[in-house]
Amino acid sequence: MPFIVKHDNTVLYGVLDAVSGRGEGEWMADTPACQQHAQSVPETVAGAGRGSTVQGHTGPAPTARAFVRDYMAFLLPRDLNVLWTIGAMLVAVLALMLLSGLTLALTYTPDATLAFSSVETLDRRVPFGWLLRSLHMTGASFFMAALYLHVFRGLCYGSYRAPRQGLWNVGTVLLILVMVTAFTGYVLPWGQMSYWGADVAGKAVGAIPLVGNLLERVFLGGDAPGTATLHRMFVLHFTLAFTIVGMVMLHVAVLHARGSTSPSGTAGQERARMLPFHPYFTVKDGLGVVVLAILFTLVMCFWPGLVTEAANYRPANPLHTPADIEPEWYFLPFYGMLQAVPSKFFGLLVSGGAVAILLFVPWLDRGTSAIFAAGRWGGLKWLPRLALAGLVCAFVVAGLAGRHHVQGGWLLAGRVATLGYYLYFLGFLPFYSRFARKEVRS
């Protein structure tokens, strides 16, 4: 065992580490802070030759080795709870989506007359095509669910606060990219919901004043969804997948530069309370991924109805509008907000703004984690929790309203939920941080 954890929360690094090839105590001594750790990469590269075990080793180039070692030795707060393993789950699902997607693309044909039957061919005749497609469909739902949980964790523990605004914003851009990819992927099978989903999205784009009509035509490649739309969606889906991989790398790189947050705030980010990524967090994340894989398999094999939409097994028919046009479950909250506003354009603004507002969260919430750690704000520690619970409720209710087409009582519920969603970001976050700051000063 390379690391020994003592009772007073300090870690002894007396033993030569198999990964780093040299005594960790020495390494720890050079780098007093996590932020400096990432900047000292050239130094560790230069120091790689010093390790006695490294010299006799003929492996990859020293830079690659140093890179891997640096990533494996990345220090993380030891009190990270289960919500922090979701990042690893997301990486695992992303890899699965990429591999299954590439294989599916070998059979799929982006043509309005052939797309549906090519997907049916996949399901019926391509060897293990049904498995690949099930993996890809279940993966999409799991990816979005895990992503929402990941964002929730960020909001819950203030992961967006300085110095991690950049990390948060890279993540929000990733969220937007993933949502666009999920939408374009859903259009590809060219079932009824695919077609009418593209139609609704095209009309929503067309509601933008002045340039709307032009944008709609560019988006659809014509007046109505058709082969040109499928080509666009396929190319977007394919290229965005790799863009997402690049953005995830950036996300992780920024994380390594800034260090991870901790459930116990700044106190948890002290050097003495940190542990290296390997083996502690590789094991923990590994367990998370295995648990996710079990859940994934159960849903895919025994409850596929949870992630598939029956109506999308009807081929697209431009002459027959389905009674219920509804998107996949992960877009329902935004669909609810779109419908809750009487005007088409303002509905688009409100539902698009619900995602875009995440970009501004670091500046809406001006408090720093130090302020929140110090300030008790009249004992109102429960207020942020209550507000966040309200946000989650608003998100769920907006989704339910979207599912019920915002009719009757759901119209009011959808509007209250939309208001509640925005109230958290525009009402609660700015004011709470101000009061917390005042509490620290006084």
Partner: protein
């Protein structure tokens, strides 16, 4: 800019008041407009009585003998109006047939093979790689032949129809002889699901044999169109006896 915490509740009260004033105004205007157009259909389909299917549940499996009997009914009765466009003959390997049997079964069907020198349509025997031929050239022909209703494609019928296999079963076994002259013109009245509401026009004469044999139909429809996700080789009978008769 808020400077004194004591003033905060006043602000909150103001905001709450504003919200309470705004919300009914926003919603009230819209409710009046939407209730008129959002009337639910009067004839909501009733739930079909649940049947005990062998493929039900996570550990279900297909009774391949029933699936094969279902195919015979499809080939003998349904295929005269309904298409099964997404299924190829080679897919019948999944219902427990060998390659030779699939080839023989395919050869019993005729598929279009272009035109001859005089412009007449030509036909040939199907091969395992052919899709099942459609009964009508296009939807217009189907509509013309069925008094305005297009017989739905059966490729995914138990998935896309609400109620699934139970509903198909109830539909097929629920026909009774027509009682009055209005419905007697070629269509049977539906006893089990009179409130189902959609125009189901099955050709007259299918009802009596259907009642007996169509019980296995949903099994076939469920099995053939589905991806072989949980397909298990659980054939209880060696081979269906009446099979060659249906193929010939």
């Amino acid at each position: 800019m808020l400077s004194v915490p004591a003033r905060w509740p006043v602000r909150v009260r103001q905001r709450l008041l504003l919200a309470m004033l705004l919300l009914p105004a926003l919603s009230g205007a819209e409710v009046a407009g939407e209730t008129a157009q959002a009337a639910p259909p009067a004839d909501v389909p009733a739930h079909a009585p649940a049947q005990h299917w062998s493929f039900k549940g996570p550990f279900g499996h297909f009774d391949l003998a029933a699936v094969q009997r279902g195919y015979a009914v499809f080939a003998g009765v349904c295929a005269s109006c309904h298409s099964l466009t997404q299924v190829q003959f080679s897919d019948f390997g999944g219902i427990g047939l060998t390659q030779e049997q699939v080839a023989a079964l395919a050869a019993s069907w005729q598929v279009a093979a272009g035109q001859d020198a005089e412009g007449h349509l030509r036909h040939r025997k199907a091969t395992p790689d052919d899709a099942l031929p459609r009964p009508y050239a296009d939807t217009d022909a189907a509509r013309a032949a069925n008094r305005g209703a297009v017989p739905p494609d059966l490729s995914r019928i138990t998935q896309v129809y609400p109620g699934g296999a139970d509903r198909v079963y109830a539909l097929l076994t629920g026909y009774t002889a027509a009682k009055n002259s209005l419905t007697a013109a070629g269509a049977e009245t539906h006893a089990a699901l009179p409130e189902m509401g959609f125009a189901t026009l099955m050709p007259s004469g299918t009802a009596p044999p259907c009642r007996r044999r169509c019980g296995t139909m949903p099994c076939c429809m469920r099995m053939v169109p589905s991806p072989p996700r949980s397909r298990k080789r659980g054939m209880s009978q060696p081979f269906w006896r009446g099979f060659p008769a249906a193929c010939g």
